[in-house]
């Protein structure tokens, strides 16, 4: 729709400056490799990378820059969908955890960061991508991607180092400093500096990206798309799969309650006061899955990839409010009665929804004992009935979302239980 907007001069200058900064980062990294690590090979590699970014910077600053290849845009847009996006996120998450030792190597992490930055710069040449990324409202999300990425990386790296030490019979790094209390001046001073820098950032942010002068909200004109505040976009994504009472009430409540209950559920004594992965595989994985995949990834999805009418748009796709995506979803009852048995679904709701109800019943009440007997046998024994049941129920509810997603994508399942008579749908 907006393709006739070419690469404007100001955009090229902006991208040029961006690549210039990235070049400086690489120069810094190369110098670090040279002076600190004394690693000649790395220095040469990152020097070369700096040069590549330097060329980019010059080209764009001189307004000779190139736009991202249309085929690439189209390929990405084509490949993108809520399914692929989520699957990629899950796969990426799994890979990251599995190959954590590899990924936590600073050079690998740096390489990934550089590839990301290089691609971001290139992608900015697409007007749609640029518009959505640089929207003042979305700045926190961009920051979130990098900050969460960094923090996760940092934690994993420390965990990997500690795990290696533990495996070698050494205590974790943190244990070595156990006797120190670094409050004054270390902590206080650092906090003071952090405070100042934080304030500084806020001031600069406020000056550079001024708050817009908006009009009162109008009941007659609802913005399209209507988005929740960025930190709730993950919740909003759940609305695609669940009824509001479920996605907006039950699940958030359980998230909060679950987080509160965690200290009481946790029976693993290890990992106290130091980073570790191997000693707390289940907890860390579950938490990271919940936070990264089911929360942050969905926030990014909601921010950048959900457009008008809550349709999914590829990162380079224009947000066309008239895009029409079919939602040919089918209820479980229809599957069962109509398609499986060839019977009409008309009749009392209870009978109609019996399969769904049974399914839910089975999921909530039959599955936990089964699991306790099998996979979670160990847990059950160590935790006792009550703690086990709470844990398993929380996990079940957490799993609700991916399960429903998979069902939706694989068999177009709309609702498992569909009782419009009482506004009760699952």
């Amino acid at each position: 729709m907006h393709d006739h907007y070419g690469l404007s001069g100001s955009l090229q200058t902006g991208i040029g400056l961006f690549y210039f900064l990235v070049m400086l980062m690489n120069v810094g990294f190369a110098l670090y490799q040279w002076y600190d690590r004394k690693d000649q090979l790395q220095t040469i590699i990152w020097g070369a990378v700096s040069a590549i970014f330097g060329i980019h910077a010059v080209a764009y600053l001189l307004h000779f820059g190139w736009a991202i290849f249309p085929w690439l845009q189209h390929a990405i847009d084509y490949a993108m969908g809520p399914t692929t996006y989520f699957l990629l996120a899950v796969v990426g998450f799994t890979v990251l955890l599995y190959f954590r030792a590899f990924f936590t190597d600073p050079v690998v992490a740096w390489s990934i960061l550089m590839i990301t930055l290089w691609f971001s710069g290139l992608a900015m040449t697409n007007i749609n991508f640029k518009d959505i990324i640089t929207k003042p409202d979305n700045v926190p999300i961009v920051m979130l991607i990098f900050s969460v990425g960094f923090v996760t990386w940092l934690a994993l790296r420390k965990a990997v180092i500690n795990d290696e030490r533990i495996a070698a019979g050494q205590p974790p790094v943190e244990k070595e400093m156990e006797e120190k209390v670094l409050v004054w001046p270390d902590l206080v001073y650092t906090e003071l500096i952090a405070m100042i820098i934080c304030t500084l950032i806020l001031i600069v942010w406020a000056i550079v990206l001024k708050a817009p002068l908006e009009q009162p909200a109008s009941s007659a004109r609802i913005p399209n798309p209507s988005k929740a505040p960025w930190y709730f976009l993950g919740l909003q994504e759940m609305l695609v799969y669940y009824d509001p009472w479920m996605a907006g009430v039950v699940l958030p409540t359980l998230i909060i309650k679950g987080l509160m209950a965690l200290p009481y559920i946790d029976f693993n004594q290890k990992g106290n006061g130091y980073y570790t992965f191997n000693e707390r595989k289940f907890s860390v994985t579950t938490f990271l899955f919940g936070f990264l995949v089911l929360w942050c990834v969905l926030i990014v999805l909601g921010t950048f990839l959900r457009g008008p009418n809550w349709n999914f748009f590829g990162p380079f796709e224009p947000w066309d409010p008239h895009k029409n995506v079919p939602l040919n979803n089918v209820n479980l009852s229809d599957y069962f009665w109509l398609y499986l048995l060839g019977m009409s679904t008309e009749g009392h709701w209870f009978l109609r929804e019996l399969p769904g109800l049974l399914f839910v019943f089975g999921y909530l009440f039959v599955l936990p004992p089964l699991l306790a007997k099998t996979i979670f046998r160990d847990f059950f024994i160590r935790m006792g009935f009550v703690r086990y049941m709470i844990l398993i129920t929380l996990i079940q509810f957490m799993a609700c979302l991916p399960i429903k997603m998979v069902l939706r994508w694989s068999i177009n399942l709309k609702y498992i239980v569909f009782i419009p008579e009482y506004f009760f749908n699952i």
């Binding site: 729709m1 270390d186 001073y189 100042i196 009162p216 109008s218």
Partner: protein
């Protein structure tokens, strides 16, 4: 690791980080302050300060009094001072006298006061004594008081004497010094102007305090730069759910908006300095010196102008953009100014301009660029971006008038009281929408929840109000939720289309209306971007032609059926009465029971139809009776005469005809631009193929309502022969079509059965399954079980089709009906069966607010790329149509806007379907209109004409868009809405009726308003005034009437003249106006002067226009004056030329004479005619004047509308001519009464006094005596014999009386006798009154005035020369005025008086002359008295004509001849 004292982090590094972050923090805080200091409005205000100071400096320097002025006033002071000196002796004597009297007065005063207090004291003692009953003591006091009072009196006398002596002396001093004091004051005034300007200029300058307060950081406390904000509660922002207060901060940057001297020119003048600083310094020094030379007592403080410097402001600072930013709002008298109708405090800015009022930056304020160029420039200069945070972007200048609609719901109220069209574009849009009938499909209701929110342009109820039964009408009118609309459908009724057109023609016409008639209003439905054969898929290629043929068939058949049905219903009297009774019954029922049963409603409809049909048939019969002779076989009509009739009888006021544009024989050419009715050039071609066409045409001309009861074409009072002649001419004129005319190429393929079926499937598919559909088309459905299954899904149309589905005609009828329903033909045409069908378009009530993201732009970008090129419309090169960049951007740009959508929707309504897969009946239905109707000018090249057509079309489109964008349906609080009342409302409502019937086609309705500078013109005006004054010496002037005395000008250097004509004079570069109202101006000697109306004045072009070089012809002038020129009278103007050309001899002296033969201007109509007469005349006009070549036609107008017009004329007269105190609606006419009434007796008494004074009473008596004798002689025998007859009758009765037995009958006879006796007595009285003595007595009591007034009226050299009076024919046969016996009913007495006093004042062209003049004493033998008296006598005689003319003395014609000559 063990605990150590080492820090975890390197403290040094931390210190550095801490230091750096602190510095950065500090810098960021500075940055923050800097940002605040540089907020856009602050920067602008700082610049404005400079400009303001400079402006004030220049004003101050400008106000240095000129040497001449200064010297004159100074000289006066000197002169008077000299005078004072010369009388120094006198003065000092007086002063000395006063000086010497002063102590005397003081002493006398003291004595007086002493005496007074003594008196008061003793009086109080006396009162005390009396209270204590001590009479003795009181008496003593009384005695004392006598003496004391005397003393008091003496003292008082002495003091008063001295005081008056002093006063006398003081007067002497004042006489000498007073003038001097005045002169000194005058002189001071000259300097004060400069003084105050200097003070102002100094005031504007910033002191160090101001500068300090604006410094960054410090400005956080008391910054002299502030946000200027209006808080507007009266026109809040409407968010549907909430009304939000409006905060307008626009003036924070637009600082000069209210300052009248901040004109663009003044601001631009700041770029350079005309005088060098040295010159200015000299001037100031010079002035200072002049002042210092004077006595300081006389000039007060000397202003200190030192430092008044004039510097040029660089163009970089005061950029052209800033000139726009800072300059004053145009028309401060109407907008923004505190005394204007829209003061900024009350209306703010955004209530009209839209935009984000709270914004204080350029982008935040949501400015709206008027062109794409502006937008790009803004982006470059101000970093402008489209503000998507605000729904109501500022209206681009081109649409600014649309805001007026928010409060001016009547639209016609945008024509101001002095006839200025304040929103020409919006009014044009309004007119175009009314003309093209947009409201037929799109509801433009203007009502929301019973509250008025916009203009109301809804269709009238399907049964028009005036045709409803009163009961029904009352119910409809009083329905608060659904008030009846007033608009008529714009197209002709198709109920009787079969009478005039052939099916084939209808089809061709539907296919290409403008191909047949290039300027037709009928839009194009076919051959458009969605249904042209070239763009249709193969399986739809036959659809358009099939549909067109079906529509033609359907219309023709429906009409046939309608005609047959109507003809059948004639009915006898009984069935009529039965229907009428039943109607009443049903209507009453409907009122009682809300839910009328379907059956009863159907019956109601039928009854109404029968009643209507009968009326129609009666009318038709009547017209046919008239037309029968000329419709007879073998009748030969005269086409040549038809041509002149067509031209003369007013057809050209609404229609045009190509054949009239070239001369034929003795009939000159005439070119009309009228578009109110259709262009008739092609009418012969149109009717070809229908044998009844001539009959139709003749009857239509005779009475159009026969064929279309709601037509706006009037009945023109033509005879059948005349109608036949016109019809003959129309039918024989061939339209010149070029060989490559598109009409010749219009060919419609007759559909085959398969095509018809294919199109039928489009509709059937939606109701039937595929197999059922095929079965249906095969005719497979008969009554039975399978039919019962499907019939529930079908509409009545399909059910009707079932049995004849194999019949092609039936299929066509079915498809035609479907198409008519779908395309909404009934929105403009009455089609039987579609009376209550809902309109098909989107409602436009709040379209102006529709968010752009709710509009389906669809694939317009690609359509645009394929069909248009972004180009200036003047550039017609290239193979694609040009498209204005502004709209291109709004349509396809990054931020699509409703303006862009709307413009394209009007331009090519179907284009949004481009590249879309749509079923045949699912596509955009809006047809393509042609809004502009330009005519090719003589000698205009094809390309130029094409470009002009394109431009005019674009302008028209924009006008319509302006109107539509104004439809925002915002509930503005009532107090802010323009709610005209009284006369103003009547004026506004009346205009709508005037427009509806195109009254302006013939009559000039409003004079033009020309405002100009007095400048050079003042000389010619003085000249005219001088001439006129000498001519007016003999005139009877009516003070307060604007025909003699003009209105005061609004003020300033400009004056305004009202005139009916503006003629360009190339030689003298001037414009000649014919005043329709007296013109007032301030002459060179500063005195107010009036030039009466009817006079020509000449205005220099340079005074009328800023750039007079642009005006080189009458056409230029007309264009330039378009918005202010007189409204209406187009036909009259055309005919003036035509008549002059046709009969050059008659109008040799003045072409304007021809106007007397043509429809009169209606300026001042309200003061002229009596309201009741006017209303009757409008409803059923009779012939008034014998001269005109055409008569006022009878319009298809309701009583309400006629009343609205009457109200209108009165309202206009009351407002524009308040001096005459026009009585309305009730006027009592004192003249109209028995001669024995007080009015006539008083008048007679006055008149006799006058006769006595001139000693001519006896003369009158001597003349009249023979008349009286004659009357006695004539009447007496008649009366006597009657008396005798009565006597005999009484005798006979009396004889019979005793014989009657029946008491009752006896009583009756007795009564009869009494009555007869009474009559007898009456006769005796009458006989007695016949005596000459009695007659004379009566003459002296009440008739003398009337008799002479009548004689004056009947004078063969005055009124009866040109006017017929009763049976007395006028002397003059050619230039004949209206018969005078009609005056009493028709005209207002005051107006008659003023008219007779000087007819030219009212109609400059009139042939009537001014008979009664102050300059001469004349007609004294007929009526003795001054010219004033004579005029009033004529008036009185006219106003009571029936009684005055039937006076016995006036009935004897001998009277007039018998007057002896002096």
């Amino acid at each position: 690791m063990a605990a150590t004292d080492k820090y975890f982090n390197d403290q040094n590094t931390l210190d550095i980080v801490f230091g750096v972050s602190n510095i950065l923090m500090l810098l960021s805080i500075f940055w923050m302050f800097w940002q605040d200091y540089n907020r856009e409005y602050k920067a602008e205000q700082r610049i404005f300060r400079e400009i303001e100071v400079e402006m004030a400096n220049r004003e101050a320097i400008k106000s240095i009094p000129s040497q001449g002025e200064f010297d004159a006033k100074a000289a006066k002071v000197v002169e008077l001072r000299e005078k004072k000196k010369s009388k120094a002796g006198e003065l000092s004597a007086a002063e000395a006298k006063i000086f010497s009297l002063k102590p005397k007065r003081e002493r006398a005063e003291a004595e007086f006061q002493a005496a007074k207090s003594d008196v008061e004291s003793i009086t109080s003692f006396r009162s005390g004594a009396l209270e204590e009953k001590n009479d003795k003591l009181a008496a003593t006091y009384d005695k004392q008081l006598v003496d004391l009072n005397k003393r008091l009196d003496d003292a008082q006398a002495k003091r008063d004497g001295i005081v008056s002596e002093m006063k006398l002396e003081q007067q002497k001093i004042d006489a000498i010094e007073g003038e001097l004091t005045k002169a000194v004051a005058e002189f001071k005034k000259v300097n004060d102007r400069f003084d105050s300007q200097v003070k102002l200029a100094l005031n504007k300058r910033w002191g160090w305090g101001d500068r300090f307060r604006t410094l960054p950081v410090i400005n956080g406390f008391a910054d002299p730069l502030k946000i200027h904000q209006f808080t507007i509660n009266d026109i809040p922002i409407d968010y549907n759910f909430k009304q939000v207060t409006r905060f307008d901060r626009c003036m924070s940057c637009h600082q000069g908006i209210e300052k009248a001297n901040f004109t663009r020119a003044n601001l631009e003048a700041l770029w350079k300095t005309e005088d060098s600083q040295k010159q200015i310094d000299e001037a100031i020094a010079n002035h200072k010196k002049r002042l210092e030379a004077l006595d300081p007592r006389e000039h007060g403080t000397i202003p200190d102008p030192s430092g008044l410097a004039v510097t040029a402001i660089s163009k970089d600072v005061l950029t052209p953009a800033r000139v726009t930013e800072f300059c004053a709002h145009p028309r401060l008298d109407l907008f923004v100014g505190p005394n204007s109708k829209h003061p900024a405090e009350k209306f703010g800015c955004t209530s009209c301009h839209s935009g984000q009022g709270s914004g204080t930056s350029f982008t935040d304020a949501s400015h709206g660029p008027n062109t794409l160029e502006d937008k790009h420039r803004w982006a470059k200069e101000r970093g402008y971006e489209f503000n998507h945070q605000w729904d109501f972007q500022m209206l681009p200048k081109r649409f600014i008038e649309s805001s007026c609609l928010k409060c001016h719901h009547e639209v016609t109220d945008l024509i101001s009281r002095d006839n200025r069209v304040e929103a020409p574009k919006l009014l044009r849009g309004h007119t175009l929408i009314k003309e093209n009938g947009c409201f037929g499909c799109h509801e433009i209701s203007g009502w929301k929840g019973g509250v008025r929110v916009g203009p109301d342009l809804r269709l009238e109820p399907s049964t028009p109000l005036e045709h409803m039964h009163p009961i029904e009408r009352e119910r409809v009118v009083n329905d608060p939720d659904n008030r009846p609309g007033t608009m008529r459908k714009v197209g002709p009724s198709l109920a009787r289309v079969n009478e005039k057109l052939h099916k084939d023609f209808i089809a061709k016409w539907v296919r290409s209306p403008s191909g047949f008639r290039p300027h037709t209003k009928m839009p194009h439905y076919y051959g458009l971007s969605t249904n042209d054969k070239s763009v249709l898929p193969d399986d739809q290629k036959t659809h358009p032609d099939t549909e067109i043929i079906s529509i033609a068939h359907f219309l023709s058949e429906t009409s046939k059926k309608y005609l047959d049905d109507t003809a059948k219903i004639k009915g006898d009297r009984d069935s009529r009465r039965k229907d009428e009774d039943r109607l009443l019954e049903l209507l009453n029922k409907g009122r009682l029971i809300e839910n009328e049963k379907v059956k009863e409603q159907t019956e109601l409809g039928q009854v109404k139809d029968r009643i209507r049909s009968r009326k129609e048939i009666e009318l038709l019969d009547d017209v046919m009776r008239q037309a029968a002779p000329v419709l007879a076989k073998g009748y030969k009509a005269n086409g040549v005469a038809g041509r002149d009739l067509f031209i003369e009888k007013g057809c050209l006021a609404c229609h045009t005809h190509q054949a009239s544009e070239t001369s034929a024989g003795k009939s000159p050419a005439i070119v009309s631009d009228a578009v109110f009715g259709p262009n008739l050039s092609q009418i012969a071609e149109k009717f070809a193929g229908n044998e009844n066409a001539r009959k139709f045409l003749v009857t239509w001309i005779l009475n159009p309502q026969v064929h279309n009861p709601r037509t706006r074409m009037p009945v023109t009072h033509l005879t059948a022969i005349e109608a036949a002649n016109i019809a003959e001419w129309l039918m024989t004129q061939k339209y010149n079509r070029d060989a490559d005319d598109p009409w010749n190429k219009v060919a419609i393929d007759q559909p085959k059965t398969k095509d018809l079926q294919e199109l039928a499937r489009v509709y059937l598919r939606r109701m039937l399954s595929k197999s059922d559909m095929e079965k249906f088309l095969e005719g497979g459905f008969k009554d039975g079980a399978d039919w019962d299954v499907v019939k529930g899904d079908l509409t009545a149309d399909e059910k009707a089709l079932r049995d004849s589905v194999k019949n092609e005609d039936a299929l066509k009828f079915y498809l035609g009906k479907k198409a008519v329903t779908r395309l909404g033909c009934f929105a403009c045409h009455d089609i039987p069966g579609f009376e209550n069908t809902k309109s098909i378009g989107v409602g436009l009530n709040d379209w102006g607010k529709k968010p752009a993201d709710r509009l389906a732009f669809e694939d317009i970008s690609n359509f645009f790329a394929k069909h248009y090129q972004t180009e200036d419309p003047h550039n017609m090169k290239g193979d694609k149509e040009p498209y204005e960049p502004f709209y291109a951007e709004a349509l396809t740009g990054h931020h699509r806007q409703r303006e862009g959508y709307l413009n394209q929707k009007i331009r090519d309504p179907r284009s949004y379907d481009y590249n879309r897969i749509r079923a045949w009946d699912d596509r955009a239905r809006m047809p393509k209109f042609t809004l502009g109707r330009p005519r090719k000018k003589d000698g205009e090249k094809d390309d130029a004409f094409k470009a002009r057509t394109f431009k005019e079309e674009a302008d028209a489109r924009e006008a319509v868009a302006t109107f539509v964008l104004g439809l925002v349906a915002e509930q503005v609080p009532t107090k802010s809405i323009n709610q005209p009342t009284g006369d103003r409302l009547a004026e506004i409502k009346g205009r709508q009726v005037l427009d509806k019937y195109n009254c302006a086609g013939c009559h000039t309705i409003r004079p033009g308003l020309y405002d100009f500078k007095l400048g050079l013109t003042v000389d010619t005006l003085e000249n005219v005034h001088g001439n006129e004054r000498s001519e007016m010496v003999g005139e009877v002037v009516h003070a307060g009437d604007h025909h003699w005395t003009g209105r005061n000008s609004v003020g300033g250097e400009r004056v305004a003249a009202f005139a009916t004509q503006a003629t360009f004079k190339s030689k003298s570069k001037s414009v000649v106006l014919v005043l329709s109202e007296a013109f007032r101006f301030v002459g060179k000697d500063k005195s107010v002067k009036n030039i009466p109306s009817g006079v020509e004045i000449e205005i220099e072009l340079a005074d009328l226009f800023d750039d007079p070089t642009k005006i080189t012809s009458q056409a230029d002038l007309d264009r330039a004056l378009q918005t202010v020129s007189p409204h209406g009278g187009t036909f009259t103007e055309l005919m003036v030329g035509w008549l002059a050309e046709k009969k050059p001899d008659n109008f040799k002296a003045s072409r304007d004479r021809a106007r007397a033969f043509l429809p009169p201007p209606l300026i001042g109509q309200g003061e002229r005619t009596q309201p009741s007469w006017l209303k009757q005349f409008l409803l059923d006009p009779h012939k008034v004047r014998p001269m005109p070549i055409l008569r006022m036609p009878r319009f298809n107008m309701s009583e309400i509308e006629a009343q609205a017009l009457v109200d209108y004329f009165a309202a206009v007269a009351k407002q524009s001519n308040p001096g005459i105190g026009l009585p309305y609606p009730h006027e009592s006419i004192p003249q109209r009464g028995e001669l024995s009434s007080a009015y006539w007796r008083n008048k007679t008494a006055e008149y006799l006094q006058h006769l006595d004074k001139t000693k001519s009473r006896d003369e009158r008596v001597s003349v009249l005596t023979p008349v009286w004798e004659q009357i006695q002689k004539d009447r007496e025998p008649v009366l006597t014999s009657a008396l005798a007859a009565k006597g005999k009758e009484i005798d006979a009765m009396t004889e019979k009386l005793p014989m009657e037995k029946d008491a009752k009958k006896k009583q009756e006879m007795q009564d009869q006798i009494t009555a007869l006796k009474e009559e007898q007595k009456q006769l005796e009285v009458e006989i007695a009154q016949l005596s000459v003595v009695e007659q004379r007595k009566r003459w002296e009591l009440q008739e003398a005035y009337a008799v002479d007034a009548y004689r004056l009226l009947m004078h063969r050299e005055t009124c009866t020369k040109c006017h017929q009076v009763g049976n007395a024919l006028a002397v003059e046969q050619v230039l004949q005025g209206p018969p005078l016996h009609l005056v009493a009913e028709r005209l207002r007495p005051d107006w008659v008086e003023r008219w007779v006093a000087n007819p030219k004042r009212f109609a400059h062209y009139t042939t009537m002359i001014q008979y009664f003049s102050h300059a001469k004493t004349q007609y004294q033998t007929h009526f003795a008295g001054s010219a004033d008296d004579q005029i009033r006598a004529v008036r009185d005689a006219l106003m009571n004509f029936p009684r005055v003319s039937s006076l016995p003395a006036n009935r004897v014609p001998v009277v007039i001849q018998a007057v002896p000559k002096k």
